[in-house]
């Protein structure tokens, strides 16, 4: 039992599982610090995974695929920011709408392009992109990319003028507005950043699996959201929580071979999130204006 956990393959597996949690969780810190709840992460993951698959399928180029994924992520996030920032509509409902839209549109075009609404054709993956051919997962460029983005995100949020403004807009939009910061503009940027990060994660999902399958996001967007909450709306915390979830899931995969309680272990991230939200393990406090549309007093 213990030796099946304490080995490099298990570590690699945990890291591999963590990537699609960590990237959207990082993105979500930008969106939520700016005051926009983004539960559309799930749908963005799905659409960008599909876009990546289609991009790679037609061009045979992994790079084009990744770019397709990121662009699709940004584009889908733009939907969310137009509905919730420009029109000040309910952010949760907008997210639900986009998730539903993603489920439908990916299957719709999957049927048209690949003649099956549930699977795409097989695409090339990241085999030739590893730094460590002996250990492809640890040499994975996405892993380094995630680490790099973590450092950049932390620095951007807490050490730059942009980060300060973004946080101001999420904490106290009236005050930020008074100081001449455009609340809507900052919020748009926050949401689009979360789309870009999540798009990258979607690209990873498709490349890692070598194909698109319907509903392949499989709740990862929501786990990422939970990771960001457990990480108390900070990049470092969000990634740490993602690693924790990756570890738990990896553990459940190992246990699946040995017993039948794996499905019960999959509940751990969700239970943990609920417990933390209750304030048992330190208070997790959202940005004060998170989820509240900002409407200027009309003159």
């Amino acid at each position: 039992m213990l030796e099946s956990i304490l080995n490099i393959a298990f570590l690699a597996q945990s890291l591999r599982i963590s990537i699609p949690y960590a990237l959207p969780a990082l993105g979500a810190t930008f969106s939520e610090r700016g005051g926009v709840v983004n539960i559309a992460l799930e749908g963005i993951l799905l659409i960008s995974a599909f876009a990546t698959t289609v991009g790679v399928f037609y061009t045979e180029s992994v790079l084009v695929g990744i770019l397709c994924g990121i662009s699709a992520g940004i584009l889908t996030a733009l939907f969310h920011s137009i509905v919730s920032v420009t029109f000040k509509a309910d952010q949760i409902v907008s997210g639900i709408g986009i998730n539903l839209f993603a489920l439908g549109i990916t299957k719709f075009f999957c049927q048209l392009i690949f003649n099956s609404s549930s699977n795409s054709a097989r695409i090339v993956g990241l085999e030739q992109w590893t730094f460590l051919p002996a250990l492809p997962i640890l040499g994975n460029p996405f892993l380094f990319c995630t680490l790099f983005l973590l450092l950049i995100s932390h620095f951007t949020l807490f050490r730059t003028r942009f980060g300060l403004r973004l946080r101001a807009v999420g904490e106290h939009p009236e005050a930020a507005d008074t100081l001449g910061i455009s609340v809507d503009k900052m919020r748009h940027i926050g949401v689009l950043l979360s789309g870009a990060f999540t798009g990258l994660a979607g690209a990873w999902l498709a490349l890692d699996q070598h194909s698109f399958t319907d509903g392949m996001a499989a709740g990862r967007g929501f786990i990422a959201l939970a990771a960001m909450i457990i990480g108390k709306w900070t990049p470092i915390g969000a990634v740490a929580a993602s690693l924790l979830f990756g570890f738990a899931e990896s553990l459940s995969l190992v246990l699946q071979e040995q017993s039948n309680v794996a499905q019960l272990i999959q509940m751990i991230p969700y239970l943990l999130t609920m417990i933390i939200l209750c304030g048992f393990i330190g208070r997790a406090t959202a940005p004060a204006a998170d989820g509240i549309p900002y409407e200027k007093e009309s003159a």
Partner: protein
């Protein structure tokens, strides 16, 4: 006059949202090289043109009435219940369990017991986020999302390890005494359509909820809590009690949605049977502006979308239904914002005119 204008706007919003959605859907159909008008005409003639189609539509609409009510009652109390999906599958599983295990009971006891099991199962899933909200202030949106996943994992576990038919993803059948009759038993023309008695239970629930919201003092308190939490609290309303009670009631209603499939159609619980009915319930409630009677109508509309897209599946992928439903959701929230803003402006103008006069 004022109320008439308001009513007009309340209807104009949803209708406009529907028109825009069908227009965008038409663009999708045109993209893939098909004629939108031909597709839509087949869509409507197959769904509403004959009794069988109508029966199918009503079958699809039944669970949406329950989940729509589950969302609406929470919206009315100022709560966001995204947990209907989890509440639904727990409720449905409980129905399948009770309908099988207590099979020796006669129908007169077993039927109510099954329905009660569905309600209680869903209610358990609703009361937890309610309690957490009332005692710890934990946000019900995140908690109900988490409860959805916990429900899925739990039911997954039971249906693959504990209570199942080997080599399938469903539970054993419930006994015939727990079946709800199909309507073709009473009306021959529905022949073959799975619409069943749970439709009437759903409509009954909508009527009861209407009475509860507008004819009882508890309903008044609930709406007051939703409109202004602090004002309600200062008026002596136990707002925490309403948070817990409303999420519990909402959970129970969502749990009842399982009746349609388990008691009226397949007679077992199957993984993935809900097809997202819990989430679509939110759209149903929004389109009806959280009005219980309106929810019956908007559920039928979503039933048309769902069954209609199945009938045209050979021409256009059936996922068109999801796309249309999603666009309806996005349009309705944007349009209601735009219309509300317009109304406020109109009101200000009329007040200004009165002041000047």
């Amino acid at each position: 006059m004022q109320t008439l204008t308001k009513l007009g706007y309340n209807i104009a919003g949803p209708v406009l949202a529907l028109i825009i959605s069908f227009a965008i859907g038409g663009i999708f159909i045109a993209i893939i090289g098909k004629d939108p008008l031909a597709v839509y005409s087949q869509f409507f003639s197959d769904t509403l043109g004959n009794a069988y189609g109508i029966g199918q539509v009503l079958f699809k609409a039944t669970p949406l009435i329950f989940t729509g009510l589950a969302s609406a009652i929470c919206f009315r109390a100022g709560l966001f219940n995204i947990g209907a999906e989890g509440q639904l599958i727990i409720g449905a599983f409980c129905i399948a369990f009770v309908g099988n295990v207590f099979g020796i009971l006669p129908a007169i006891f077993l039927l109510p017991l099954c329905i009660l099991a569905g309600f209680i199962g869903g209610a358990c899933w609703g009361i937890i986020p309610g309690l957490l909200k009332a005692t710890f202030g934990a946000h019900e949106v995140i908690n109900t999302i988490m409860m959805n996943f916990i429900a899925a994992a739990l039911v997954n576990y039971f249906v693959s390890n504990v209570f199942f038919v080997p080599a399938t993803v469903h539970t054993p059948d419930i006994v015939p005494a727990a079946h709800l009759s199909r309507l073709d038993f009473f009306f021959e023309s529905f022949h073959g359509a799975p619409v069943n008695l749970s439709l009437f239970i759903a409509i009954g629930a909508a009527l009861l909820l209407h009475v509860y919201l507008w004819k009882t003092s508890l309903g008044y308190e609930l709406r007051a809590t939703g409109l202004n939490l602090n004002a309600a609290r200062y008026a002596g309303i136990h707002v925490e009690r309403h948070m817990i009670g409303t999420l519990t009631l909402g959970g129970g209603l969502a749990g009842l949605a399982g009746m349609n499939f388990v008691m009226g159609y397949k007679h077992y619980f199957e993984l993935g049977f809900s097809e997202g009915a819990g989430f679509i319930g939110i759209a149903v409630a929004l389109l009806a502006r959280n009005n219980p009677i309106g929810i019956v109508l908007t559920s039928i509309f979503f039933g048309i979308l769902q069954y209609g897209s199945l009938t045209i599946n050979t021409i256009v992928p059936k996922e068109l239904a999801n796309i249309l439903q999603a666009i309806v959701i996005l349009c309705i929230i944007v349009l209601s914002k735009v219309i509300d803003r317009h109304m406020v402006r109109l009101q200000k103008q009329s007040v200004a005119a009165e002041v000047h006069a």
